[in-house]
Assembly symmetry: C2
Homo-oligomer: 113 residues x 2
């Protein structure tokens, strides 16, 4: 399986969880310290850290430690590749529908009235 | 958990598999009979049917039986909702970066040369 496909697997799996999506939604508004982020969710810090791990391992989030504070930020490149994959399938499908429309219109024009 | 969030969970989970993504890629080019679709993948029909089930249950694919032939087609509404979710987070993040850029530029203009 090509590398890009494995990356998409991981990114989509990471996105398939409401807590992880909520973290990304929060980070889309700017970087945040892990403790501040965790405080927004009603779960134990170890469970929350596991969610952050999943987001970091698939490349949707980056974190940096400065002193005792770890700060997270969105890393949108992987998000963009997932978005691109979806857009591509949708536009191909829409183009096909347009072609079908044009074809039906031509048929109608050509038919005896 | 709101209904929309559960739908996103299911859609992203369905997308986190290379076989299911390959099925969607094929269907983006037009409808296909289940047997013809299954023939493209090197797996037993029951396993393949499970993948199709996942895609149908989350609303990414619709199928219709006519006589003995079941035909599948892409149902892009759910795909679009996943795409919209990703686009929204990315554009928020980009807007934030733009604001930061403008702020830094203002600071630079204001500083003594």
């Amino acid at each position: 399986m090509p590398n890009h496909s494995m990356q998409l697997d991981r990114v989509f799996r990471a996105l398939a969880d409401p807590t992880r999506r909520a973290v990304l939604q929060r980070l889309s508004r700017g970087p945040a310290a892990v403790t501040a982020l965790a405080g927004r969710f009603n779960m134990a810090l170890p469970s929350f850290s596991q969610h952050l791990d999943v987001l970091e391992r698939c490349g949707l989030v980056r974190s940096r430690k400065s002193g005792r504070v770890r700060t997270c930020r969105l890393a949108p490149r992987r998000m963009k590749s997932a978005e691109r994959w979806l857009t591509r399938q949708r536009t191909l499908w829409e183009r096909r529908l347009d072609q079908l429309d044009r074809y039906l219109l031509e048929l109608k024009k050509g038919s005896p009235s």
